[in-house]
Chain length 506, copies 2
Amino acid sequence: MQTDSNGTSNVIDLSHHLSSEARNRVANPVKDILRVISECSVTDLVSMANGDPHHSLYPFRQVMYEVPSVQGPFDPVTSWRNGSGPAQTIHSYKDQECALSIRNAFPYGRAAGLQQCREALASFTNLMFAPPNHHVLLTLGNSDGITKIFRLLGEKGDYFLTDEFSFPSMTNCPLAYGIKWVGIKMDSGGIIPEELEKVLVKWDEVKLGRRPHVLYIIPVGQNPTGSTLSVDRRKKIYAIAQQWDLIIMEDDPYYFLQYDIPQKDSTPADPDEFIRDFKSPLIPTFLSMDVDGRVLRIDTFSKVLAPGMRLGWITSNELFHQKLADYTDSSTMPPHAFGQMFVTEMLSEHGWKVEGYCLWLQSLRLDYQRRRDFLLEVFRREVETTGYASVNCPEGGMFVWIEVFFEKHPRHITEPYHGGSPVAARTNTELLLKELFEKLMNIHGVVFMPSSTFAIPEDSLWVEDDRHLPLRDRCRFLRATFGGTEEIIEKGMIRLAKGLQEFFQD
Amino acid sequence: MQTDSNGTSNVIDLSHHLSSEARNRVANPVKDILRVISECSVTDLVSMANGDPHHSLYPFRQVMYEVPSVQGPFDPVTSWRNGSGPAQTIHSYKDQECALSIRNAFPYGRAAGLQQCREALASFTNLMFAPPNHHVLLTLGNSDGITKIFRLLGEKGDYFLTDEFSFPSMTNCPLAYGIKWVGIKMDSGGIIPEELEKVLVKWDEVKLGRRPHVLYIIPVGQNPTGSTLSVDRRKKIYAIAQQWDLIIMEDDPYYFLQYDIPQKDSTPADPDEFIRDFKSPLIPTFLSMDVDGRVLRIDTFSKVLAPGMRLGWITSNELFHQKLADYTDSSTMPPHAFGQMFVTEMLSEHGWKVEGYCLWLQSLRLDYQRRRDFLLEVFRREVETTGYASVNCPEGGMFVWIEVFFEKHPRHITEPYHGGSPVAARTNTELLLKELFEKLMNIHGVVFMPSSTFAIPEDSLWVEDDRHLPLRDRCRFLRATFGGTEEIIEKGMIRLAKGLQEFFQD
């Protein structure tokens, strides 16, 4: 155990979690020399050592971004969407004063990101999540961040843990180099801590190898189920992680899209007070409770600005931070200047400032909440009345999880458990789901993501209970986004209702 | 052997070059479903399947880039550098007409890059290199492209081939997962084809495992030596690659920085004629001769626009292209919208157009050539006259390779070969180089990259000749960039001369 310089938290040695690749990686000799050079005390040092083009040759003198104005009596997102709100121009200059100049943004940079941008994001992270003792490294968005962490921690043959319905765009990635997944049973509140513990307790290292040491979760508006982990579950999961020495990957793209949050009638004029009011009702993150340094939090601008931003950041303990920086140096290099310039300028006094960004986030969250409510309203009117499906009311994110009552279908089949694998399907739910998906698309012209796409395959190696209800029989859901327009949502729900009617009466 | 649809070239099966990771990678199930959806023939399809934020929520209405104007009676780079040239603004719009709109650039995109940007770069690639039958995939610059290819082809235990002095920022990367390097002997013209062949002929698969199947080279203005491979060497190397079934990684960031190229007195007014004149004296690329599909060419904007662009592209055969796209989907995702928008707009009729970009490249090349010539002139005047060093005259790139005559040093030691390892040092050249580097930095205030940083360690496993001169005894070089200002170059050379004088007289 070490105590950090502030004595505020304990950081434990977690180096045994590193993959052999991460452990074997040695510093790039060029960067080593550049470091030696940077430590040289000669004041008038002439460097002919590096390969940077001279900044006078960058063909950019100014980059301007026309964005919504967020300060005003209007609602920023609504007025921007309907074109009634004023715009504001954020500038990045080569030579004029700004928060991160073109001259400083376009050379080869340090792996963790440009200092100005990193400081802006670290300061935002501290303000929002107050992590005990962590460091910020820029990424190209969460796919990049998450897959880098998979490489950081994953050894061929390892099992990682995740929700039983998880996001295959991520879980698919490390399969190629031999990582396997164990899905943990969920309910409407997301992953069930007791089920997580059960898997760890029962894990047979002789049969299965090393006990899983990584838990990958999306704690707010989980993709695909839309569930959000309660504070109580978070505390339990963190305690389990401490007991069983798990690393938690907190993939949280929807954190600022939390709904049904108590909100004051008027926006305080004082920025600090406004920021306090903005953040205090948001759910505590795993990062904020991470006294051990076993949480890697993964943030992104994809859902709150735009996916094409390809910019995000990982907040982690110092060891993981350094290893991720080495890996970045050995792969993507730090992110593009454009995104770093925009974000730094946007958060600075020359742009929206932090409070302006929070105004945008608050307004965006209310916009998505209205979309969610609209979907739920149309669903109740059009779909629920068919008696063939129900929907959850997600507290965050962009998705609802529509449950279809396949047991009401005339061709539905159930067989009782006769022994054999407890994970083998005993119903034809999967087939009916596939049929429904195809009919909805080809006959009724509406598409959803079928839950089978997200199901982590079960294995009788760790599912041993014969009273277990196989996940394949619980693949009775459709994921629907409420990110679209009201027109799309309404049309989609009406078509779903019609499709269900026909499907169940065939 | 397959014949492509045009019948213009043969594409051979190169799938045995793929790493097990690349072979094991399966398509992301989400993308699979999205593909099924995209193939649905229903015209009025309502999609609630994906997780894209609606474009009306992107906080960008316009992005503007103030860049040099390249059309005119002036020299674009010179006038831009000294601030006398006019600027031009390139626009990316959300809703107004442009080559790649904000609306199309900011959603989640296809792994190979946005269609408009890919088409612009494919068209530029065809115009410049006329590859027989290849495909373009966008990258985040050459580090990203190269390290993705290492993963595509490299299996733990594999040996890859490269120049004996190579670029460690790249060669260092795959060491962490078990790739080893064999350096091929070079002379002033770069890698020596006969030496490449010798290694392949002599390779003992029983002792060393699989014969090397990948050759990584920088054919123009090689980093660090500044050498450029002649057409004759290129042809020989390609023939060797065909005979020994090598994949060639053509890392070519300096291709458009070729010097001493015959140039017409006046610029033709006709754009097509100008482009023809611009490209015809440039050296043929490996890509252009790649009838087999065994070349992966890696291009970037880092050296000709700015490193912070973090945008480049790989041109390869279809199989490698598809596998790289799958890997991109499983790691970084396609590049940021900003860079793709800028490049697409810049190359379009709304921006510089292709001929304008070529004007910029031509002007930039002449600018670097003047910097190179200035360095050589000062070197001859200040350094060569000391009698302790000489310099090459690179035909491309950003570096000169300064040879120091350590054998003239009073403390220089040579031992004759007495048997034992043929690669063990028999002189104290490395120590003297280190001492010189440190004295130049700490006493004389000038830094260069010592050649030891770039040396690929030799091994007696493949270097067997006792007449071999160990690379460690040939580490007698300093890499110097001529990318800096004249002031820096002049000061640097004067300090080097003084440093050498003192060093050799101690």
